[in-house]
């Protein structure tokens, strides 16, 4: 064992331990020092750096000045009508405008720059070889951004509090405006960190910086539009259940988005021998479950089954995008990942799909899409049964045709749900499957990184969609025929046709054709999948086992009486 133990250290330690703690302030300071040990080191460092940075000082002072200036100008323009006119919304909106720039542009861009510049300047390397894990590094940076947000907020907080005294505003509106802005800032900052994690090269860094800056200004613009509506025309009805349902919806959307983006950034920072995928896959499933739950609620609450179609289409796009990345993962698991592979039959049956690999990724995306389709039928069946009960009850009471019966007439038939779902799943299986095969082939010649699977899949989708379209448009005989069977590979047109122009086509033939191709593609992907499934758990190396055993022994609780009735217990 090696320790830093020069002889004088005992004296130093004694000196530290016996630091004079006289006053209450000293005790508080000592407590603060002790508490800071528990803080994330990145937070401590970044807070120190940020508070000294010119950018932070300038932004803070500008905010402060803008807040004061608007307070004076705003109040002067309102004049004596401040006592009776509803000028609160106007004052709040401008204060929000001042707050939203640092929160929605400066803070997220700082998050991006903080990570990407560290990666470029290679200071991240020195950070990555410390005892800090990727999660701690990211959460430290997020906490530092949060701290910056708090400081910015504190600059404008007196102004926000002042608006409460004005007419035309309630406390809920003010809290909601600030909460939405902070949540959006956190979500954008997490996105900034993700982009910072995937843009280590200078050329890509510049490109991503520009795109991010544009996106942040767009977010700033649209958020201000929403807040404008909320402040002026919101008429918040906090007593209604809809209000709280919407807040829950927003909160769950934020939580899922944040989790996915955070875990995606984390996986980019992990070394290739570590498991980059499992946590992210769980987050994706959680997001899907949340989404399905909200959609089911929307169908039951609104009685509009078209919501289910929207859910299926959205899920198709979601799993197609996720599938691009999942099928781009490396097929051979590192011994490190193999140490944690499921062993039991049940575990191998259900948890295997969460282990990294292109084959499991392909199956994971498909099975989730299948699950969405099955789950779509639950609210469909439930609400259908409700409607039938209402109709028969009314008929029994001799009330004749009624509203529910009318609703029954417009209710989608099972085939109108099943058909689009079947087509969507087939497209997913075909395009992701072919993409996975192409990526597997390319892996023999090039190193597959994050961008390649995206490029391959986008090119495939463009090829599959544009080729039949170009053929049809250049053929005078069928140019004006609308959708034809020639467009079967064209996922975009076909799904749009099913959605907006039903029933336009021979659905049975289309489903048969697409499912035939999908099964062939699925079978072609079966072999690599089986190779992945054959991988089994390996024991950790002896050195790791020895260290684990030594540490376990060190942390073991000494045997002793566990209750007064045990031998040796003092009564």
């Amino acid at each position: 064992m090696t320790t830093i133990d020069p002889p004088q250290d005992a004296e130093l330690l004694a000196e530290l331990v016996t630091l004079p703690v006289d006053t209450g302030w000293d005790r508080f300071e000592a407590w603060l020092v002790k508490a800071s040990d528990r803080l994330n080191p990145i937070l401590v460092k970044e807070a120190r750096q940020a508070l000294r940075s010119r950018q932070f000082v300038i932004t803070f002072l500008l905010m402060l000045a803008a807040g004061w200036l608007w307070s004076i100008v705003g109040l002067a323009s309102i004049g004596p009508s401040v006592y009776y006119a509803a000028e609160g919304p106007r004052m709040l909106f401008v204060y929000h405008l001042i707050l939203s720039f640092p929160l929605l542009v400066v803070a997220p861009y700082s998050a991006f720059h903080s990570l990407s510049s560290e990666r470029q300047d290679r200071t991240y390397e020195l950070l990555s070889i410390t005892a800090l894990g990727a999660r701690q590094i990211l959460s430290g940076k997020m906490c530092a951004i949060l701290l910056q947000m708090m400081v910015y907020l504190s600059a404008i907080f007196p102004c926000l509090a002042f608006t409460y005294l004005l007419r035309g505003l309630d406390i809920f509106t003010i809290v909601l405006v600030v909460s939405y802005t902070c949540l959006l800032s956190l979500a954008l900052s997490a996105t900034g960190l993700l982009l910072g994690a995937i843009a280590p090269l200078r050329q890509r860094h510049i490109g991503v910086s520009v795109v991010l800056a544009i996106a942040l200004f767009a977010a700033l613009f649209f958020e201000n539009l929403v807040i404008f509506q909320l402040v002026y025309y919101g008429g918040l009805a906090v007593v209604t259940s809809e209000f709280w349902i919407i807040q829950w919806g927003v909160a769950s959307l934020f939580a899922n988005y944040f989790a996915i983006v955070f875990l995606a950034a984390r996986s980019q920072l992990l070394t290739v021998s570590e498991n980059r995928s499992t946590a992210l896959r769980w987050a994706l499933v959680a997001a899907q479950l949340t989404f399905v739950s909200w959609m089911a609620f929307a169908v039951i609450a609104s009685g509009e089954p078209e919501v289910l179609l929207g859910m299926i289409y959205f899920s198709t796009v979601f799993w197609y995008v996720c599938g691009m990345f999942l099928t781009g993962e490396a097929g051979n698991l590192s011994p490190r990942v193999k140490r944690d592979l499921p062993q039991s039959a049940l575990g191998r049956m259900f948890v295997t799909w969460f282990t990294p690999g292109p084959g499991t990724g392909y199956m994971f995306a498909l099975s989730n899409m299948l699950a969405v389709t099955l789950l779509a039928f639950l609210p469909y069946r439930w609400i259908g049964a409700q409607l039938r009960n209402t109709v028969s009850a009314n008929a029994g009471a001799g009330l004749g045709p009624n509203v529910a019966f009318g609703a029954m007439q417009t209710w989608l038939s099972p085939s109108e749900i099943l058909g689009p779902a079947a087509v969507a799943i087939a497209y997913l299986a075909i395009y992701l499957g072919i993409g996975a095969l192409v990526i597997r082939w390319l892996r023999r010649y090039v190193e597959v990184k994050l961008a390649l699977p995206v490029v391959v899949n986008v090119l495939l989708m463009m090829f599959g969609s544009l080729t039949p379209w170009v053929i049809q448009m250049t053929s005078p005989a069928i140019r004006n025929s609308g959708w034809t069977m020639l467009q079967a590979p064209n996922a975009v047109w076909t799904l749009a046709e099913i959605c907006f122009d039903k029933p336009p086509l021979d659905m049975a033939a289309l489903v048969l054709l697409l499912w035939g191709v999908a099964i062939v593609v699925w079978l072609l992907n079966l072999r690599p999948l089986l190779d992945e499934l054959r991988q089994v758990r390996v024991a950790p190396p002896q050195r790791v086992q020895a260290e684990e055993a030594a540490l376990a022994a060190e942390h073991a609780v000494p045997e002793g009486p566990k209750s007064p009735w045990d031998e040796g217990a003092e009564l």
Binding site: P41, T130, A131, A550
Partner: protein, 324 residues
């Protein structure tokens, strides 16, 4: 997995602390590192010599868990850098050939951050900070911004950062580059102290005389391949290197030429007046025999000296035909 503080890190009592086993690293078709094997034990200073682009930094980066080998593996205290990077990192102090360019941070905060990042807490962290500051002679610079430090100060700070968690293994990539003579001597002393504390130290440098003075063992790498490993003397012997002998004979050295003529173990004999210089294949024992033969033959030897080849000589000899 149970987490532990750095102070609780235990190393294996026997066996090397650093081990490279058939390490390969390719960048496209370029073989940056090709089948490199060596090990470094406790308290050993191991010099890694090679020209630019030889593969030194690549193999050091792999050891520091910053890069992945294409084939083979490297071990730190028995843990694979590929599979157990987290355990390796707790045992490793890495000083790269570049410097951290953090803005708006002073020396004390910089070291404090890394101490926290390695999990040091409370008095333990304060103790480590004081020890490192004192060891690297940075005591007076605690409030100085790091972007205002001189090259030598930055190197010392870099060393301090690498040793803040008291790792048993240290990897120093070109630590003496750009330092003035005084700073080099100080650095050499520090490395010597660290080795005396039982750390395994892998150090690379272009300044071969520096390495010769501080290293127990050296490895010569060129074009990704390890050409020789061992002490300078061992490599010298293994290469059947010649020792340069200088002789001064009273009354003229011509008898020396007559006596040595036709011997296979003597090369490049030059006789000028009373002096004779030649290269001799053989050990120190055979040199002693040669001196005895001169004296027995009545040659009045006034001075006899020989020197082993320097690290530069060995390096040039080993990389003969490879180094441009």
């Amino acid at each position: 997995m149970i987490l532990h503080s750095p102070a609780a890190i235990a190393t294996v009592a026997d066996g090397p602390l650093i081990e490279l086993a058939h390490l390969h690293r390719y960048f496209g078709r370029t073989k940056a590192v090709y089948d490199v094997n060596f090990s470094v034990g406790r308290g050993q200073v191991f010099g890694y010599i090679g020209p630019n682009g030889a593969g030194k930094t690549t193999s050091m980066r792999i050891l520091a868990t910053l890069d992945m080998p294409t084939h083979g593996d490297a071990f730190v205290d028995g843990f694979s850098v590929v599979q157990d990077a987290d355990r390796v990192r707790r045992r490793l102090g890495f000083m790269p050939d570049y410097f951290d360019t953090q803005p708006n941070i002073v020396v004390g905060e910089y070291l404090d951050f890394f101490a926290r990042a390695y999990g040091l807490m409370g008095p333990e962290r304060q103790r480590a900070l004081r020890h490192v500051m004192s060891f690297t002679r940075l005591d007076g610079l605690i409030e100085k911004p790091i972007d205002g430090l001189s090259k030598g100060m930055k190197q010392r700070l870099c060393l301090g950062r690498a040793m803040i968690h008291d790792p048993p293994v240290m990897i120093l990539d070109e630590p003496a580059a750009g330092l003035d003579p005084r700073a080099r001597i100080q650095l050499r002393e520090m490395i010597g102290q660290l080795a005396a504390d039982g750390k395994a130290i892998l150090v690379s440098s272009h300044i071969l005389t520096e390495l010769a003075e501080m290293c127990d063992t050296v490895a010569i790498i060129e074009q990704g391949q390890l050409l020789a490993t061992g002490t300078v003397e061992e490599i010298h012997r293994a290469r059947q290197a010649r020792r340069a002998v200088h002789l001064r004979v009273l009354g003229g050295a011509e008898p020396v030429r007559v006596m040595l003529a036709g011997r296979d173990d003597i090369h490049e004999l030059h006789v000028v007046g009373e002096t004779a210089d030649f290269l001799h294949d053989g050990s120190l024992e055979s040199e002693a025999d040669l001196l005895r033969d001169f004296v027995t033959a009545g040659i009045r030897v006034a001075a006899f000296g020989s020197r082993a080849k320097s690290l530069e000589d060995v390096f040039m000899q080993v990389t003969e035909g490879l180094v441009q």
